[in-house]
């Protein structure tokens, strides 16, 4: 199996910046070429081979193993292929990616899929803050693609997101969907406070319960959001377990009326 084993002891407490860990840069290269790819170990430049034992050259997909929670930029800007990580990953995983699939069988740190443009990230554990968000100073967060999180997602998830889908099986942190420009965030467990603050358009669908909403959201009554059934079916087809619920009447809250006000938060009917 073409696997790269991470030696966390070699890196110590200092984070490793390894945005070369993408199928774009790894597929088709020999073990020797992969080992020479540049990384940053703190302020020092180094080679990937200093920290990874490369089992075989990847041909179709790339596997990473180990505790990579201090490795930043895994799958960053990837545009193709499949990258499977067996362990937790550090910040900026899948950030700015435009295609391909990134599966993380562990937890992901902050800025997961920040400003991503396409492809799919699937975290089979929890995600940190700012998944799918815009970097500070940027005008828009993710503009396409899908982020699926089986566990919890931290604060400011999907902030200023422009397009795409974020599905969170566990708890959704405070201020998620803040400044949402468009796109869809689905939350299947409890959600935090101040959701959708400043959102212009887009959808925040909360299937579990209704948290205290900002007063700038107005109750628009009950309806059956048929489009959500399509999302749920799509997620079920992918195997996203939390989506195994049926579409049902939901209460629509229009807002944020301090902004454009064409966004919506959908909450359970009762």
């Amino acid at each position: 199996m073409p696997t790269l084993h991470y030696d966390s002891a070699a890196a110590g407490m200092i984070p490793l910046e390894a945005d070369c860990l993408t199928p774009d840069l790894l597929l088709g290269k020999s073990i020797h070429e992969i080992a020479r790819l540049p990384v940053w170990h703190g302020k020092q430049s180094a080679c990937l081979g200093d920290f990874f034992r490369i089992e075989a050259a990847p041909v179709e997909e790339v596997h990473l193993r180990g505790d990579l929670s201090r490795v930043k930029g895994i799958g960053q800007r990837m545009s193709q292929g499949r990258l499977l990580v067996y362990g937790s990953v550090g910040m900026h995983a899948g950030a700015e990616m435009s295609g391909g699939q990134l599966h993380i069988f562990g937890d992901a740190a902050d800025w997961l899929g920040a400003e991503m443009r396409g492809g799919r990230i699937w975290v089979h554990g929890n995600a940190g803050d700012l998944a799918g968000a815009a970097y500070r100073g940027a005008r828009r967060g993710m503009v396409g693609g899908e982020i699926l999180i089986d566990g919890n997602a931290g604060q400011e998830t999907g902030i200023t997101m422009r397009r795409g889908l974020i599905a969170v099986g566990g708890q959704l942190g405070d201020f998620s969907g803040g400044g949402l420009i468009a796109g869809t965030i689905l939350a299947f467990a409890e959600a935090g406070r101040r959701l959708g603050a400043g959102m212009k358009r887009g959808t925040l669908a909360l299937f579990h319960s209704t948290p205290p909403l900002l007063p700038s959201f107005a109750d628009a009554g009950l309806f059956v959001p048929l489009f959500l059934e399509l999302y749920l079916r799509y997620l079920r087809q992918l195997g996203f377990a939390p989506a195994r619920i049926g579409c049902r009447p939901m209460r629509r809250w229009c807002g944020d009326r301090l902004s454009l006000g064409k966004g919506e938060i959908l909450t359970p009917a009762n």
Partner: protein, 304 residues
């Protein structure tokens, strides 16, 4: 003589021609609403001689078969060009499906982007700025607010080069038995995928020819098959024939039309039918020739 179930089949061909086709999937809260929308949307669509398109109900869909898990109906639409088809879809979906309670409308044919026509992408303007776009797995849907909630419609619909004008003629002794044979043919065709008979109940009594003695008409009655004109024209009818019905078929491809003709003709081979033939214009109308003997070879009676 080539016979199927004792009924002579003439050695001739149906003259079919290419048309642009689309499949529309309509769903609703209950089957009755989906069917009401479907019937309205496919009404007045029997022939492009006088209608903007040819259309019909392909089949009813169970909740398992529809994108949103509700009961639905698959509709087929045919027109001479992609532009004409788009115009027809826009008018018919906008006036007959959008307006019907609880309905939603989805594309039923995958096609390359250049072969898709925008429908929801134009109907969205009915939302007057309150419409909402959703992109899911490369498909864009429009949520248009209406008085019972939202009308959900796919942005664009795929088109394919279909085949129209497949046909066969049932020459019978009198109206009763010929109509019975025609109904049997229609019922055999109706469940088949990708093909439909666009005329009322699938049966045509006014077979036409190209042109007329009146210059403004592009089609007129086919006098050679009108029993009451037998002594006045070059009739194609044997003396014992008192009634003729035609079944016209449109399909998503030639194979679907052939399958429909095969099933229909076999079902129509019953007592009272004197002969089965097909309409053609000597090869001048359409490039696709569907030869009856070739279609039915494996079902032919053994020679006496």
């Amino acid at each position: 003589m080539f016979r199927v179930n004792q009924i002579p089949i003439q050695d001739t061909f149906a003259e079919a021609f290419p048309m642009t086709a689309a499949r529309v999937v309509v769903t609703a809260l209950e089957p009755c609403w989906a069917q009401a929308a479907a019937q309205a949307a496919t009404g007045f669509a029997s022939s492009v001689i006088g209608c903007d398109c040819e259309a019909g109900i392909e089949r009813l869909l169970t909740p398992d078969e529809t994108p949103d898990g509700r009961p639905g109906v698959a509709l087929l639409f045919f027109a001479f060009s992609r532009e004409a088809l788009q115009k027809a879809l826009l008018a018919r979906i906008g006036q007959c499906i959008l307006t019907c309670p609880t309905t939603a409308c989805y594309n039923g044919l995958e096609a390359a982007a250049e072969r898709c026509v925008p429908v929801g992408g134009l109907l969205r303007y009915f939302g007057d700025g309150w419409q909402i776009s959703k992109c899911l797995a490369g498909r864009r849907l429009w949520r248009i607010p209406v008085m019972d909630g939202e009308f959900l419609c796919e942005e664009s619909f795929g088109t394919v080069k279909g085949v129209a004008g497949g046909n066969f003629l049932l020459l019978g002794r009198e109206v009763g038995c010929t109509l019975e044979a025609a109904r049997a043919a229609y019922e055999a065709i109706a469940p088949l995928p990708g093909v439909l008979s666009p005329f009322p109940a699938g049966i045509v009594r006014s077979g036409s020819k190209v042109g007329s003695r009146y210059p403004k008409l592009k089609a007129s009655t086919n006098q050679a098959y009108c029993p009451t004109l037998r002594p006045l024209v070059a009739s194609q009818l044997p003396p014992e024939v008192g009634c003729v019905y035609e079944i016209v078929l449109d399909g998503l491809d030639q194979a679907a039309v052939e399958a429909g003709m095969r099933a229909g003709i076999r079902a129509a081979c019953r007592p009272g039918v004197v002969q089965i033939t097909a309409g053609n214009y000597g090869g001048k109308l359409g490039p696709i020739h569907l030869h009856l003997h070739a279609l039915l070879r494996e079902y032919a009676d053994a020679p006496l």
